[in-house]
């Protein structure tokens, strides 16, 4: 009994530790979580994702421009000095945010915060660096994305579902006309104080606030970027595949803040078994050999895309698996039993809780809340999942399915099924 109590106490401590209060430091939002990890990370989150880009592919180019020459140090200086400190630098692009991240040993925080913030305040955006280093990276990323049918399907689905804004691709078009001037003007519009949040893990709030206050004092003042409210459209497209499995994506979108019901629906349909070598208890667990169905749930600040990604080696397999997937989705809209809902909620809660165990998950969780300035805790996410009941679940699913579907087929587009053939 004593052991049980001790572990409860540990859990409580852990949950309270996952609180992070967002503090406004001279106009920049700063949030930090310190779990006493041996390493620390700092992420500069900028509202400069692809939904805000003025021209196709500019956000991707800006992402690839990260850590090039600034007034403080040259590109090679940044790389070599970071290597000497043993840190890791990377930039990632989402539809909402551009994230510049450094991971490092705790003592080296001043240097790495300076590397991140000097890119924000004094990047040079030299034309030759764009042509020699950045443009090839942009082209390579776009090229590799065309060889992955799953990525292509999700990109095409976003475009059909949301058209502009969230619909714009994370990658640059194959033949683009991005110039360094475009990137420079996008960066100067995006890198303003109201548009930046700094998120730290393994570093305490006061230290981080101090460092950020010193180095971001020079950043231009400005308000947060805004884009027109997202609308859901839906539609159908068929693309030829360049190798890879036959892929069909069946999706639906909703507007408004992400809801716990959809997270539960994703957990309900998830085909990932809890035990290795088992089939799992998902309603779509019995699929033809060589096919897979993955629920895709992508929540954004003012819309979400929910869908099922069906992949398989043969056309017949994909057709059969697609029918099973659509049938399961429709069955969920008619209502599921309380037991099924309970296990789905548990699965969704575990997914949400284990996501914040990783550094990336923690940064994502903090990032979504950092700009609104609200307190972030795992508890609120978990309790909202606990409040899902059978009625609300089936109602949310039914209203999701009442919209026009987003249907993408990639592969042998002449033979792959059409939306109506899958029962949509």
């Amino acid at each position: 009994m004593l052991a049980a109590r001790a572990s409860t106490a540990r859990n409580v401590q852990r949950i309270t530790r996952s609180f992070a209060t967002v503090v406004d430091t001279s106009g920049v939002k700063v949030a930090a979580v310190d779990h006493n990890q041996p390493t620390a990370s700092v992420t500069v989150l900028v509202k400069a994702g692809s939904r805000f880009e003025p021209k196709e592919g500019v956000a991707n180019a800006l992402k690839n421009f990260a850590f090039k020459s600034t007034k403080a140090r040259s590109a090679i200086g940044t790389v070599r000095e970071s290597e000497l400190y043993g840190g890791v630098l990377y930039s990632t692009l989402g539809r909402e945010h551009l994230a510049l991240t450094a991971e490092f040993l705790k003592a080296d925080a001043p240097y790495f915060v300076d590397v991140l913030t000097s890119f924000v305040t004094s990047a040079k955006f030299a034309r030759h660096e764009f042509e020699e280093y950045v443009a090839p990276l942009v082209a390579a990323e776009a090229e590799s994305a065309t060889h992955d049918p799953a990525t292509r399907a999700i990109e095409a689905a976003h475009q059909l579902a949301f058209r502009s804004g969230l619909g714009s691709s994370l990658f640059a078009p194959a033949h683009n006309h991005i110039t360094v001037e475009d990137i420079k003007s996008y960066a100067s519009a995006a890198f303003t104080k109201g548009n930046i949040a700094v998120i730290g893990t393994g570093i305490d709030q006061a230290t981080l606030s101090n460092l950020v206050e010193k180095s971001l004092a020079k950043a231009a003042a400005g308000t947060s970027a805004s884009s027109p409210a997202t609308k859901y459209f839906g539609g159908e497209t068929r693309l030829d595949g360049h190798g890879g499995p036959q892929t069909v994506f069946v999706g639906f979108g909703t507007t408004g803040a992400p809801s716990a019901e959809l997270a539960t629906l994703a957990a309900h349909l998830s085909t990932t078994p809890s035990v290795k070598w088992s089939q799992g208890i998902s309603p779509i667990s019995s699929l033809p050999k060589g096919t897979s169905v993955q629920p895709v749930y992508l929540p954004y600040s003012d819309a979400s895309l929910f869908g099922l990604l069906v992949q398989g080696t043969t056309i017949e397999g994909v057709k059969e698996a697609g029918k099973a997937a659509v049938a399961a989705l429709k069955a969920a809209a008619k209502g599921i039993s309380a037991d099924e809902l309970k296990s789905a909620v548990s699965k969704a809660k575990f997914a949400a809780a284990s996501a914040v165990d990783t550094r990336e998950g923690l940064v994502t969780a903090l990032g979504s809340k950092a700009f609104s300035g609200s307190e972030v805790s795992l508890e609120s996410t978990l309790s909202s999942l606990d409040n899902v009941n059978v009625d609300a679940f089936s109602k949310a699913t039914a209203s999701l399915l009442s919209a026009k579907p987003t249907f993408v087929a990639i592969g042998d587009s002449h033979a792959l099924p059409y939306a109506d053939e899958l029962g949509l």
């Binding site: 040259s74 090679i76 200086g77 070599r80 000497l84 034309r127 030759h128 042509e131 020699e132």
Partner: protein
């Protein structure tokens, strides 16, 4: 000190006002007397380009600058075939004779030197 641009006393001369005043007319006369402007060249067209640094610098010219440079080289070699300078209206005016390539070469050299510095760095941990 050595490199594609060669030795130059120009920075020293420019640092002194009286030397500049004294030598500028001589320099202008010399640049005219070299004769390259009669063939439509700019001074940087004469820079020896058969090395990595200048090749890299040439890659950094804008498209417009690159086309213009190719045109000047072609026009001059044609004039050379004809054994006569260009007609006077095609000579490079002094105002157009700017160092369009030298800044890029300097930038490339600076980057190379910095790379050498980082390659041979001795780190002392305090």
């Amino acid at each position: 000190m050595f490199g594609p641009l060669g030795l130059s006393l120009a920075p020293y001369v420019r640092s002194s006002k009286s030397l500049t005043n004294l030598l500028t007319p001589v320099a202008n006369w010399y640049a005219g007397a070299m004769g390259y402007r009669k063939y439509g060249f700019k001074y940087d067209d004469l820079l020896c380009e058969e090395n990595d640094q200048v090749q890299r610098a040439l890659g950094r010219l804008t498209d417009r600058e690159g086309y213009d440079r190719a045109y000047r080289l072609k026009r001059a070699s044609h004039a050379s075939v004809l054994h006569a300078p260009l007609p006077k209206e095609q000579w490079t005016p002094e105002s157009d004779d700017v160092r369009y390539l030298a800044p890029h070469v300097e930038e490339v050299m600076k980057e190379e030197n910095e790379r050498k510095l980082w390659d041979n760095l001795v780190v002392e941990r305090k």
